[in-house]
Each structure stands twice: as structure tokens, then as C-alpha cells.
Symmetry: C2
Subunit: 255 residues, 2 copies
DNA sequence: CAATCTTTGTGCACGCGTTCACAAAGGCAT
DNA sequence: ATGCCTTTGTGAACGCGTGCACAAAGATTG
């Protein structure tokens, strides 16, 4: 390698698949752990195992960032940590606001992993006047009336919504109007946002329902005689669930 | 969709695509809202709008469940609520345990949406002896020593892990050994589980990093002169970020 | 310097998921 | 009953993501 950096950006920053972007934080976490153990280099096979993915996938993912590996050796851990951090935008500081300081909002405010990597809680905001000024995670709670000013003064572009579902869209609209262009939504609501604003949602109840679906399927399989796969609590449930997924009558029939 | 292991022959779940399963809870939520407003029928177009998806996708999703619509009219709301609930396994009760009663675990225990739909918190478990017996969300905290017994007595097949990252795999192993076959993981760790166990992960820091990536890209676009799309805080950030994504020197160079 | 060994980077094929577009089906008015 | 109008259900095309398998590249050894 003659020069360490002679790649043209034309093909690069535009072409990273979304699926790859979603895995970069995973790689970064594994690499950080290696870095803390002062491991100098790592092969795609090892790193893939640590991140829980296929090694070919990992190599292809890295290939979108550039050719940062050395054949016959592997990847330089420190260098890769830096490259991925830079690609993810973690070399700069991202102030975020959390709106809705209930149980969940307070828990997130206290969450250490928040500040660890480029993210900084700029403000906690709540609509309840009795919350205003209270200390949560060593920080005063602001009233939602000041939302716009807080966003603008701090240059916040990422907002976290932990309000009840009913208030989420309203809060979202205000955040967006004030200049926020990325939203992490914990409220059980489908948010509507203008073009150019990114929303990611975290929904406990959806996750549980997906698990329940698979759990039910497993239980049905057990009942069907495909027993002895894993000694499970599901088997107990299966025995208890008399109505199979196909065996009962709808409570309500269509007209 | 996240198992810790490479091989994933699963996903042939009785013919319903995984992507569809993941959307069913969304439809169910929208339908429940309609049901509460006593709306008798709904078209795929309306429901799709409420759920934030494409109407053709919604119709195809429903087609995997059967032909529950009426051409020229739409879908019977109550009937569909029942069918989806049944498909997701929500007509039965799912006891869950939450392991790790810190800020997040306590917040989840208090979360109303938990019990709302088929899920019931059977126990709160923590490793800290000083937590044992304390009341959280109107429920006593159990010690982790009793984990296996709690799982078995209550027939728990779904576990929620809200421990620190370091303890997650250990807790996971014990849950699985005791019979749990579905795990919702909030700890920032890649869990390794045996075949037949489902893991879904919720990772705040990963979500934020993905948002940061897109945010950085937007800021770069703004700098490049594609201004005037949305009046954003990102523009302020873009102006402030002197080093563009291509313009600085790595802190660490490879050997 | 040449041979060997390790590991990357990627061409290729395959399968899943999404979307379009439309025929079939049912309701409704006349 | 007949024709019109609405909406479903789905065939087909397309694009994305994944994983295999291998050639190229560099390190290493004698």
C-alpha cells in the first residue's frame, strides 16, 4: 500500500447499504472490546464470531468502507475502530434531548451507554409542570414550553421520545419544526414525519408479540409430535394449550 | 431477528414470512384503535395508512393468514383483530420474567403496555441481595438464586434481560437451561443461544449510532450545497463541523 | 528469491421481500 | 337480473441482502 488514503469518495459514502450500516455499531462494539484487551489485529473470522455474523458478510461490509484489511493477516483493530467511528459520525459530539421523563425516560437518562460514545444528553423535557426543575440523572428537567429554544440553542438534531403514545406525534411535530431531523421513538405510535427526517422505533410490545408468535409455533410443533428438541417450558405450555392454532371457532364472525 | 449463531435454517414458520410477522403487531394496534371507535370495517388503503405501510403489502400480508376480506367492502375490524391476535398467540397468557431490576428493568416492570395484551410479569429477578424483597411496580423482587424455580413453577417461556452487559450471557444461559425459549435482550451484548431459542435485541446505543450515521450524511449533503431542503438544526451542525467526512487524518494509522 | 501459507476482497447465484398492475369478486343501484 | 363501481387477492418483475467459493495479495519461511 503506497499511501494510506487515496480512495475517491465518489463511489463510497453514497453506496453503503442500510443493512451494513445497521451492523457497523455491532462491529464497533466488538472491536472496542478487542482494543481494550490490546489485541493488535483480528481476522474476519474471529471478529465475525464476536459480532455474531457470517465472516463473508463482515468482509463485504468492510469492503464498502474501503480496503482496510491486510491479506494473510487481518484487520488492524485500532485503525478499524477509528474508521468505523468516523463513518458512523461518532468522532463528533451529538447532543440529544429526551422528551417524556417518566419511568422509561428517566431510565434512559441514567443509562451510561448514552454518553459513552459521542452522545450527550443536552436536556430532559417533560410536559408536567410538577416535574420542571426536578433533578433526574443529575440534570434538571425542563418544561416542554422551552422545547424549541433548547433545540436551537444546543443545536440538537436527535430527539428521543419517551412520552405516552397519545402525545408522541405532537411532540414529534414540535421537534421536527424546531430542527430535529432524527428521532428515536419509544412510544407505541406510528410517527408521521416530513421527507428528510429519520425515525427509528423501539417498541417493547411489538418485540414481545413477535416472540409470542414464534413461541406459539414451537408449542404447536411440540404438540404435533416433533418433541425432544430442547427441554423447554414451552412443552408445558403446549400441553396446557388445548386449542391449537387452527382448532377453535372465531369469537366474532364477519357478516 | 437476531440469534447469536451463524446457521439460521429457521424462518420457515408455517408459511408466514418473518417480515409479515413483524408487521402483524402494527396492524393489530391500528385495528384495536379502530375497534375502540366502533368502526365496523376498514379498507386496506385506510388501514395501511394508519399502520404506515403500503396497501399492497398489507393485503399480501393478510393473504398469508387467509382470505378475511370482502371485495368491494374491506375487512371486518373485529374479526381481523381476533384473527391476528390468534395468529400471534395473544389469545393465551404469556408469563414473562424480567431479570435485572435496575433503572430500565424497573421502568419496564412499570410499563403498562406490558400487561395489556396477553403478557403478564410473573417475576422480577435481580442478583443484588439488597434488592430482594423490595417492591417494584407493586411486586416483590426475587433473588436470582431462585431463577430456575420461578421459571418452572410459572411455566415461563419468555425472558427479558435488562442486566448490565457483563451479566447478560450468564443470565441467558440460566434462563435457557431452565426452559425459556424466547429472550428479549436489552443488554448491549451479542447473546449466544442453542438452536430453537429465539432472541430479539433492543439496543439503544445501536439505534442512536444508526441515526448518527444518517445525520452525518445529511450534514455532508448540506455542506455540499444541496441546501434548502428542510430548515434543520443539522445545518447548524454542518457549519460547525469543520472536518468533513473526508478531511481529517486518522488518529491511528495501520502499521 | 521462490515457494508456501493465510486471509482478504469479490463475482455470482439464490432467495426473500416489495411493489405494480390487473383480473376476479362482491355489493349496490336501477 | 344486469351493469357499474369498489376493493380484494395475487401473478410477475424487480431489487436487495446473503452466503459460497475462489482468485488475488501479501506475509513468512527456507
Amino acid at each position: 500500500m503506497a499511501t494510506g488514503r487515496n480512495h475517491r469518495p465518489a463511489t463510497r459514502s453514497r453506496g453503503i447499504p442500510e443493512a451494513t450500516v445497521a451492523r457497523l455499531p455491532l462491529y464497533l462494539r466488538a472491536l472496542t472490546a478487542l482494543s481494550e484487551r490490546s489485541v493488535p489485529t483480528v481476522s474476519s473470522e474471529e471478529l465475525a464470531a464476536a459480532a455474531g455474523v457470517n465472516s463473508a458478510k463482515l468482509r463485504k461490509d468492510f469492503s464498502y468502507l474501503g480496503s482496510y484489511g491486510t491479506r494473510g493477516v487481518g484487520y488492524d483493530v485500532e485503525y478499524l475502530v477509528y474508521q468505523i467511528s468516523r463513518e458512523l459520525g461518532l468522532t463528533q459530539d451529538w447532543p440529544v434531548v429526551i422528551v417524556g421523563i417518566g419511568n422509561l425516560g428517566a431510565a434512559l437518562a441514567n443509562y451510561g451507554g448514552f454518553a459513552s460514545r459521542g452522545f450527550r444528553v443536552a436536556a430532559l423535557i417533560d410536559a408536567d409542570p410538577s416535574m420542571t426543575g426536578k433533578q433526574v440523572a443529575g440534570m434538571g428537567v425542563s418544561h416542554v414550553d422551552d422545547l424549541e429554544e433548547i433545540i436551537q440553542v444546543n443545536g440538537v438534531s436527535i430527539g428521543v421520545i419517551t412520552t405516552p403514545g397519545g402525545a408522541a406525534q405532537q411532540v414529534c411535530d414540535r421537534l421536527v419544526a424546531a430542527g430535529v431531523t432524527s428521532i428515536l421513538n419509544f412510544a407505541p405510535t406510528v410517527l408521521t414525519v416530513p421527507e428528510g427526517v429519520d425515525v427509528r422505533k423501539v417498541d417493547l410490545s411489538i418485540e414481545l408479540q413477535i416472540l409470542a408468535f414464534h413461541e406459539q409455533r414451537k408449542a404447536a410443533d411440540e404438540l404435533a409430535g416433533n418433541g425432544a428438541r430442547v427441554p423447554t417450558a414451552a412443552r408445558r405450555r403446549a400441553a396446557r394449550a388445548d386449542e391449537g392454532p387452527e382448532g377453535d371457532i372465531p369469537a366474532v364472525m364477519p357478516a
